[in-house]
């Protein structure tokens, strides 16, 4: 556990979470959520939970981003809040 690296990733996590929720464009919101998931994966690799990091990179960041983009293309891109 490297404390300074840890703190930088955690601050970026909060920033990306807030950005993903404030964007009006749902496609951009899904992409920022993918960035959030990859940052989470990096944090877990750094916290020496490598198995969780693998699963998050494939399932959390990969599959959930893809299905969210598929839903945005099936429905609408605009959001009011």
């Amino acid at each position: 556990m490297i404390p300074s690296f840890d703190i930088v990733i955690l601050i970026f996590l909060v920033v990306t979470a807030v950005i993903a929720l404030t964007l009006k464009d749902l496609l951009a919101s899904a992409m920022v959520l993918g960035i959030y998931s990859f940052l989470m994966c990096l944090l877990w690799a750094e916290m020496s939970a490598v198995d969780v990091a693998f699963t998050e990179a494939t399932v959390g960041a990969g599959v959930s981003t893809v299905i969210m983009i598929a839903t945005v293309y099936q429905t609408t891109r605009k959001s009011r809040d």
């Binding site: 840890d6 919101s29 969210m68 609408t76 009011r80």
Partner: protein, 149 residues
Amino acid sequence: MEAFIANFNYWIYIILMMIGLFAMIAKKNLIKKLVGMSIFQTAIILFYVSIGVKQGATIPILPEEAVHPKTTAGETSHHNGEDGDAHAGELPEIDAQDYTNPIPHVLMLTAIVVGVGTLGLALAIAQRVHYHYGTLEETEILKQIQSGQ
């Protein structure tokens, strides 16, 4: 300040969980609610993985020397392979303090997969809602339901 830095993971865990809860309640768009749910789930996983972290510990995978001790000649290697139990005392000591606790990791692997399952199901329901009402905004859906009756 020292305690704040030492428990920084837990502070961020609480902040992320409250951001996700706020989004699930206050955001009117259905996809935004699901983004909030995803953040909420990963915040709880962050809490569990933070429990297993130890200072100065490495990943919970044993090095090869700890499992198969090195042998000098081919003859002894062959002999060692036949009755490994007789040479078990030669194995180096494995200290649990050198490895992070893998139990929370294994629990959270299931939680990640379940999280993606719930997200996929909820997105499928959101697609059906959009197909039926033509919008993803909660207020407009409620308005259509009330005017229809």
